[in-house]
Symmetry: none
Subunit: 269 residues, 2 copies
DNA sequence: CAGTGGTCTAGACCACGCT
DNA sequence: GCGTGGTCTAGACCACTGT
């Protein structure tokens, strides 16, 4: 095989031609072991020090090889424990029914995607704060910039696995003094639509814009994202009677364990 | 802080306390300069050697900081030339109106996102092929596996910039011999809904599932994606009278220049 | 405690893009 | 030729996870 000369190159001391960098060749070899099943999903790959011995390179070179695999989402690292082949995660599907008051919600057999709403395994870490409206937010709410809004920041987890970061805003006027402004009532039964309804606000339309990008480091840490996994971003705007009653400037989902589902009814086509 | 003794120990050897790693602090500072506009989009950031001088750290530390920004998709590097703040691309917004027959479509002033449908600057590279239904496709169309389908593969470009890869399927029975089966008629005026309507098929519902992931190498090349940019994936299923009449197993969008918009009407909430 | 990965240094030489 | 980033070495010490 052509691999023989590659193996020989590992044994050389320094001169290795850079036709293919060594860290790439090492990454290729480790990737082969993982995809071929020699290192099963969820198992530890050899430690950095044993890899330096096996390939006879400096530790920095091994780390670069592992960086490649991390960027591909193939492995994930835990400080002090080791580096694992990435296990396959269950996918959380978020469909239009997440805005319904209450309904039967079954998993999708074909993909294994599941909805966890109201299942009792969903925990919410909430943080409420009063903030002044930025010009962008003020325009969406049709108020003066600086008007006080209620900011609601959430980290939602399922089975202890973080699944969603949310930053949402409400006009303080419409929620102040109501149970909706109480952070201890999280998670909201029925979601934000039901909560607004309890205040007499009838939601008429929700608009969401979906984007994707690589996470910031903070997001990657909060969502425990391995490197190489992007995030799905949904920006939500909730309307009642043509007025904007809620804005979620960013709902951040880990793309390796979430997908969004939408329906476009006939009268829109 | 309780960490003071620890911090003191660091100061013996290194000026900066490691409460936050040096490379992350440097990444934060560079990110600030880029997002604040001190380094405009498309401009070169300082070279690695000048950054080692400015922050007084080893070159490896500077490179790690830049790796952070690259993983976030904030900068891109060209060997021998330098590292750039990633230029902002015009964003193509795809809303529900893309399935409407014909309507006024304006840009969104707040984000600069635009729709290019029917604007004449959209080119389509089409490839049609007859294929046997896989078990998954057969189940969706409610036919026997192996039933012949028309496969439609598209690369859509706007102003010569590739914007979308599509793979869609139709039952050959319903389209054979019709203008819809003619690859020379791309791009389809009014989209696939209008085309189906011209065959007497009235679309009643469209369902889309949106995901994100890093691109395969082939996708990255076809869409001319720089490293660190994920793709948005939409899987579409088109219904008429409860029957599935079209399936797009993957519409692949470059996440740095596309976003998807959906509406959830009141009767769904 | 031992073993893992995380951070950082101070060098070296190579490959690429420009002028 | 010069300045850029790409690759690599050989060490050091820190921080986290286990026993």
């Amino acid at each position: 095989m052509a691999d023989e000369s590659t193996a020989d190159r590992y044994r050389e001391r320094v001169p290795a031609p850079h036709r293919q960098p060594r860290y790439r060749a090492i990454a290729d070899e480790l990737r082969r072991r993982i995809t071929a099943g020699a290192i099963p999903a969820g198992a530890l790959i050899p430690s950095e020090s044993s890899l330096t011995a096996e390939f006879r390179v400096a530790r920095g070179t091994i780390r670069e090889a592992i960086n490649v695999l991390r960027a591909e989402g193939l492995v994930m690292t835990e400080h002090g424990r080791g580096t694992y082949a990435r296990p396959n995660l269950p996918v959380r599907r978020l469909g239009p029914e997440r805005y319904m008051s209450q309904r039967q919600q079954d998993g999708d057999e074909t993909t294994g995607a599941r909805s966890f709403r109201n299942s009792g395994v969903e925990q919410v870490n909430a943080e409420y704060q009063e903030v002044a409206a930025t010009p962008e937010l003020a325009e969406m709410f049709e108020v003066e910039p600086g008007t006080v809004l209620l900011q609601r920041r959430l980290l939602t987890s399922v089975y202890g696995v973080p699944q969603q970061l949310t930053t949402a805003y409400y006009l303080l006027d419409t929620v102040a003094g109501t149970p909706v402004a109480d952070p201890n009532r999280e998670p909201w039964p029925g979601g934000h639509v039901a909560q607004l309804q309890s205040l007499g606000i009838l939601v008429t339309k929700i608009r969401e814009v979906v984007q994707a990008r690589m996470p910031t480091i903070d997001e990657a840490e909060a969502l425990r994202l391995p490197a190489g996994v992007p995030v799905l971003i949904a920006n939500r705007r909730t309307y009642a009677d043509g007025r904007t009653v809620e804005v979620a400037t960013s709902m951040v989902f880990p793309a390796d364990r979430a997908e969004l589902e939408y329906e476009i009814p006939a009268d829109l086509t």
